[in-house]
Amino acid sequence: MRRITMIALVAAAVLFVGCATTQQRLLDSDSSQVQLRSIQTRSFDTTDREKLLRTIIATLQDLGFVIDKADLELGTVSATKLDFYALRMTVAIRPRGEKQTLVRANAEYNRSPVTEPEPYQQFFTSLGKAMFLTAQQVD
């Protein structure tokens, strides 16, 4: 009897992990959107879109990414790093007030969204160094 319980529990654990619906995957609705946005966003004291985007591209190259796509008008850059894993990242910028620009990054690691703060912190630190500017936390 115990054995059956055991098997059932293991099976349940397996099923439970794999039971997210397509809609949940599409919207990634299981994580707090507000919190995630704050983890993924920093503000820089610049309004030079082109320079900022070019620095983002150079930073991604330094970190071992190959650029997939870049668009000055939309203000986005996408890139992929392959190092026995796949790390895909999109960085988008938009103006904030008259003196600042918001930089938002989101990443996926293999098949999962990156939701922990450390990788984003590391990315923004690298970007800040390359910009000679400090990445400021946004509320």
């Binding site: 115990r2 054995r3 055991m6 529990l9 293991v10 654990a13 397996v14 992990v17 794999g18 082109e50 985007l53 070019r54 591209i57 150079a58 190259q61 330094d62 970190l63 071992g64 990414f65 190959v66 650029i67 997939d68 796509k69 870049a70 668009d71 000055l72 850059v77 890139a79 992929t80 790093k81 392959l82 190092d83 026995f84 894993y85 796949a86 790390l87 990443a107 690691y109 293999n110 098949r111 999962s112 990156v114 922990e116 450390e118 990788p119 590391q122 990315f123 630190t125 690298s126």
Partner: protein, 178 residues
């Protein structure tokens, strides 16, 4: 019974932890000891500020190498390109056949690979009178079953040197190391 209980708990924990282990490696988004060396290997400096000319020469060079241009944004100095090639080798095929006959589960040999390249140009200098060109390559390999077996960056010093030598010839300018 107690031991079985422990085994069960371990199995459940293992299953759960295994599925949740998708964290980004610690050094994936930081500067490493090889960052500077990689940058130097992948970059050359040219004494020109004609970004369009350089980009168009790079596009031609990528075509010479058999790449197809996927995306480009001239205003940001970016070209991305890719090509798909055969990844089958006789040795790999025999190893797979041997392993399949021993293990009695299908082990698929490598089938095809997609190579990707991105070229990025950037003006620098006080008046933007010089330009750097940086090129990076990576590849993804699939087996006959359509699964990815390898995904990695590619390119050694020799290959980058050849790329930039060809570029120098195409634009009649000497590329200098940074």
């Amino acid at each position: 019974m107690k031991r079985k209980g422990m085994a069960l708990l371990t199995a459940v924990l293992f299953t759960v932890s295994f599925c949740g282990c998708a964290t980004v490696p610690k050094d994936a988004l930081t500067w490493g000891p090889e960052t500077m060396a990689q940058r130097q290997m992948q970059t050359r400096k040219f004494a020109t500020n004609d970004e369009k000319k350089i980009l168009s020469a790079c596009a031609g060079l990528l075509q010479d190498m058999g790449f197809n241009i996927d995306e480009s944004e001239t205003k940001l100095g970016v070209i991305t390109a890719s090509k798909t090639r055969d990844a089958r080798t006789v040795g790999d095929f025999f190893t797979s056949a041997l392993l399949t006959s021993i293990l009695l589960v299908p082990i698929y040999p490598d089938d095809k690979q997609t190579m990707r390249a991105s070229v990025v140009t950037r003006l620098f200098g006080e008046q933007g009178e010089n330009m750097t060109v940086r090129v990076t390559f990576q590849r993804i390999v699939w087996d006959l079953n359509g699964r990815i077996t390898r995904q990695e960056r590619v390119g050694d010093a020799e290959m980058y040197k050849e790329f930039f030598d060809k570029l120098s010839k195409a634009i009649f300018l000497e590329g200098q190391e940074i």
